[in-house]
């Protein structure tokens, strides 16, 4: 039992309860999507079949799932670290862009051995994303502005900054608003030639393990979690609340920046507008869904990516818009958030009806 002592992060319901909640949430999502699909005049069963078949139709589609989930997992892991101190990092997209562009600049202009280029690109992308995220965290910690609104504004600022850079000073010849490609030698190798999945996914697994270790085993992780539980108590405990809160947002931003680097070096080899399709928002959703646990973030990202790949391939056969993924995703997360409260309300109402003697037991 000693080993599990620190695993108990919150006064959460028992394992069975959380399984029940998740099942209810997924059931809700399925019901909603059945309603949506029915109103399209399609057969839900065959649509689901198409989605699953589409997602697992061949090796390349499976690898596509891995490729799609790579950046989301990395950003989601970062989100979970910010969430430990009570911050919501909704700025993943902006941080991703800043990481991507700075990594691309290194990739294009730094002429050095591959390893050095990689390490430099990783460091610079983490720094760029970290500053972008840390800024929002800094304002929250010092002057108590909403880090959510600042982060969303910073997303747009990054978006337009990238738009400016790829259509002006960094534009590749040819008129398309994009940078030059990074040299082939520094590109991350593919898992299987011809697919979109690359070795970046291995980083992801290591990173998740690392995050788990830090949050569950180390003093640093403990301090972050303590701040999130009660900033007042943490301060009394001698924990540097402000400094660590900003740090947690810096790390979250750094993760998103690193995701940008991975995408540039592994998938696109250059930066163009629209390289992030709201990864940041998706990552926050999944992190909430996973209750900020690394393994849950991996599983959740894979599930959502499966759904996306499946729906994408199905769209050719059946006319169901891809945005159904967004709907399903939000319905699941909404239900996950709301379900325990509804059940608690229900139980509370039931308990109230019991006479006092029996209640003492419960």
């Amino acid at each position: 039992m000693k080993q599990f002592l620190f695993k108990k992060r919150e006064n959460r319901p028992s394992f069975l309860d959380s399984v029940a909640n998740t099942c209810l949430a997924i059931a809700m999502a399925i019901i909603v999507s059945i309603i949506f699909i029915l109103s399209l005049g399609e057969n839900p069963i065959s649509v689901f079949e198409f989605i699953i078949r589409g997602a697992f139709r061949n090796t390349s589609s499976v690898l596509e799932i891995l490729a799609k989930s790579t950046p989301i997992i990395i950003i989601g892991l970062g989100v979970s670290i910010a969430a430990a101190t009570g911050m919501t990092n909704l700025g993943g997209d902006g941080q991703f862009y800043m990481g991507a562009i700075s990594a691309a600049i290194i990739g294009i202009y730094l002429e050095a051995p591959v390893w050095i280029v990689w390490i430099a690109a990783i460091c610079v992308s983490i720094l760029a994303g970290g500053i972008w995220g840390g800024f929002a965290g800094f304002l929250r910690a010092t002057i108590d502005t909403s880090e959510v609104i600042i982060a969303i504004m910073m997303n747009y600022i990054a978006l337009f900054l990238i738009g400016f850079l790829v259509s002006n000073p960094l534009q590749a010849p040819g008129g398309i608003p994009q940078t030059r490609a990074i040299p082939q030698i520094v590109q991350l190798p593919k898992l299987i030639a011809g697919s979109r999945a690359h070795w970046g996914i291995v980083f992801v697994a290591l990173l998740a393990l690392f995050v788990w270790f830090v949050m569950n085993r180390t003093v640093f992780g403990f301090q972050l979690l303590t701040i999130g539980k009660s900033a007042k108590a943490a301060q009394y405990g001698g924990i540097a609340v402000k400094k660590l809160s900003v740090t947690s947002m810096f790390i979250a931003g750094g993760f998103a920046g690193f995701a940008g680097m991975i995408e540039v070096f592994g998938t696109y080899y250059r930066v163009l507008e629209g390289i992030s399709s709201s990864f940041g928002f998706t990552a926050v959703m999944i992190a909430i869904l996973a209750r900020y646990r690394p393994l849950g973030i991996i599983v959740g990202s894979l599930l959502i990516s499966t759904l996306t790949v499946g729906v994408n391939s199905m769209q050719i056969a059946v006319n169901v818009p891809t945005s159904i993924v967004t709907v399903i995703q939000s319905v699941v997360v909404f239900s996950i958030l709301v379900m325990p409260k509804i059940r608690a309300n229900f139980q509370h109402a039931q308990r109230k009806r019991l006479p006092p003697d029996e209640r003492e037991e419960s």
Binding site: R9, N11, T226, S230, K232, Y236, R359
Partner: protein
């Protein structure tokens, strides 16, 4: 007088449970027209719970309430107000950001949503305040008013609801002597006008002074009901407490005599600002020697919180200096102050002193997370060592914890306080600052904590004890002082002044008046 014809309120068999524990247990209460009934009882006797049930803030689990002989159901304050029940809460129920006028207007809003007729309401306020001799400052934001005036607003607000039964929950706790006299004269005025008043208090003199009848509560039960002019202070005290001696632990002979003049804590003329500038510490100084317990008595909210937070490094000190064992600690971080040997038992034991959703080990660790003792390679937490320390503290401090992984929030108040005390004392402090360490605890736990504090003294540490329980301060302190309005009286030995002199100091009178 006990003619049932003019019984206005009757509460029958009221029971209320919190987490399975009875706060009210089969309580019966009758109030007649034009009568002042005092509800007397110690902290936690269930007085406030009963009144919150009457006012619709809580729902009783059992029992019924009837007004004018008719059984009523009170599900919200709205119902209570409609039935003519007004309440002056212990913690004022006023909107701090509103002025008095807006607060009173809000209180009569009821089901109305339309226009506020400024003139009519102002006229009415004027009329009422003259009629009941209340002083109302209309256009100042409530949070900027002195508490006495805030309370007048609170009373007027209750009267505005056309109330026939006025409940006052510990109304004198925050008042100084003059404000108290003013309040009592208002209450007599109201009684003469035919109102029934329920007066909640744990102060015997007040109860004897104002009430017609005293209902005594102990541990959630009514133990007695007596007519005021047939009782006296000693009698009431005995019934209220239900035991002869409140504090059995007395400090022994001083182990460190005056030759050991080591000053462990020295506060020199500090000034501290409170939240929203509510209460400011002005020019406060005190000195604690090795092995000495310095007690600060005073009514809540007179700057105690600001003082201890400043000491612990949680609040900025604007002027003056603080020395711990000769080293200056003014405005240093809470971490370094702790490392230099200042241990701190905060007043809010559930949300500051501990983290409810952490285990015992984690609760010990969050106050020591920077210490090298519990750190392994790669910044890992040494859980084994921590666990051993936890085991030791559980044994030494008799912490009743059903199993080791249980969350501290599920423990009883007494056990939570033991966890905090164990953690703080185990760090071998030079000075321990303890704020309300025994508030709301049962006798056994209080005794235990007092014993531990005295043990710590004998090991040579200094203690600063802050409490609202005068008996506690008097029985434990070597030196004591009274804090009032952010100012500390001159230090004195507990036997130097009489109880009434100390009481006067607490009421804000200056020292000359006590001589």
């Amino acid at each position: 007088m006990l003619n049932p014809a003019n019984t206005i309120l009757e509460m029958k068999g009221i029971s209320k449970f919190f987490d399975g524990k009875p706060a009210n247990d089969q309580i019966d209460l009758k109030v007649n027209e034009g009568e002042i009934v005092a509800l007397l009882g110690e902290n936690g006797a269930g007085k406030s719970t009963l009144m919150n049930i009457l006012f619709g803030l809580y729902q009783a689990d059992h029992g019924e309430i009837s007004i004018d002989g008719k059984v009523v159901s009170i599900n919200s304050p709205l119902d209570a107000i409609a039935l003519g029940i007004g309440m002056v809460h212990q913690h004022f129920m006023l909107i701090p950001a509103f002025d008095a006028y807006e607060n009173i207007a809000l209180s009569i809003s009821g089901k109305r949503n339309g226009l506020v007729n400024h003139q009519v309401i102002r006229e009415q306020i004027k009329k009422h305040s003259i009629q009941y001799n209340l002083s109302i400052v209309l256009d100042t934001i409530v949070q900027d008013l002195p508490v006495g005036l805030q309370q007048q607003v609170e009373i007027l607000k209750a009267l505005f609801g056309e109330c026939r039964i006025l409940v006052l929950d510990e109304p004198t706790g925050v008042l100084n002597e003059q404000e108290k006299i003013k309040l009592f004269s208002s209450l007599k005025e109201l009684k003469a006008a035919g109102l029934s008043i329920i007066f909640i208090s744990h102060k015997l003199d007040e109860v004897l002074d104002i009430s017609d009848r005293v209902v005594i509560l102990r541990k959630g039960k009514v133990v007695d009901s007596v007519t005021t002019n047939r009782t006296n202070k000693e009698d009431l005290a005995c019934r209220m407490v239900g035991r002869d001696v409140v504090f059995s632990v007395k400090k022994g002979p001083r182990l460190f005599d005056n030759k050991m003049k080591d000053r462990v804590l020295e506060i020199k003329n500090i000034e501290v600002h409170g939240k929203r500038n509510t209460q400011t510490i002005k020019d406060l100084s005190l000195t604690i020697h090795r092995g000495e317990l310095f007690g600060i008595a005073g009514v809540d909210g007179n700057g105690q919180s600001e003082l201890v937070e400043a000491l612990a490094g949680l609040r900025h000190v604007t002027k003056g200096k603080i020395f711990l064992n000769g080293n200056e600690i003014t405005n240093r971080s809470s971490r370094s102050i702790k490392q230099m040997g200042l241990a701190f038992v905060p007043e809010d034991r559930r949300s500051m002193g501990t983290i409810a959703s952490y285990s015992l080990d984690q609760n010990i660790f969050f106050r020591n997370s920077d210490s090298k003792t519990f750190r392994k390679h790669f910044g890992q937490i040494d859980k084994k060592k921590l666990h051993m320390l936890g085991d030791r503290l559980i044994k030494d401090y008799d912490i009743r914890i059903p199993h080791r992984d249980m969350l501290v929030g599920q423990l009883s108040g007494g056990n939570i306080q033991k966890v905090i005390l164990a953690r703080e004392i185990s760090s071998d402090p030079v000075v321990l600052v303890a704020m309300h360490p025994t508030r709301g605890l049962d006798v056994g736990a209080i005794e235990f904590i007092h014993t531990r504090l005295l043990e710590l003294l004998s090991s040579g540490a200094g203690i600063l004890l802050i409490s609202t329980e005068l008996d506690e301060i008097i029985s434990l302190s070597d030196q004591m002082a009274v804090i009032s309005n952010g100012k500390l009286s001159r230090p004195f030995r507990p036997d130097e002044l009489s109880l009434s002199q100390i009481g006067l100091l607490m009421g804000g009178s200056d020292e000359e008046a006590c001589r």
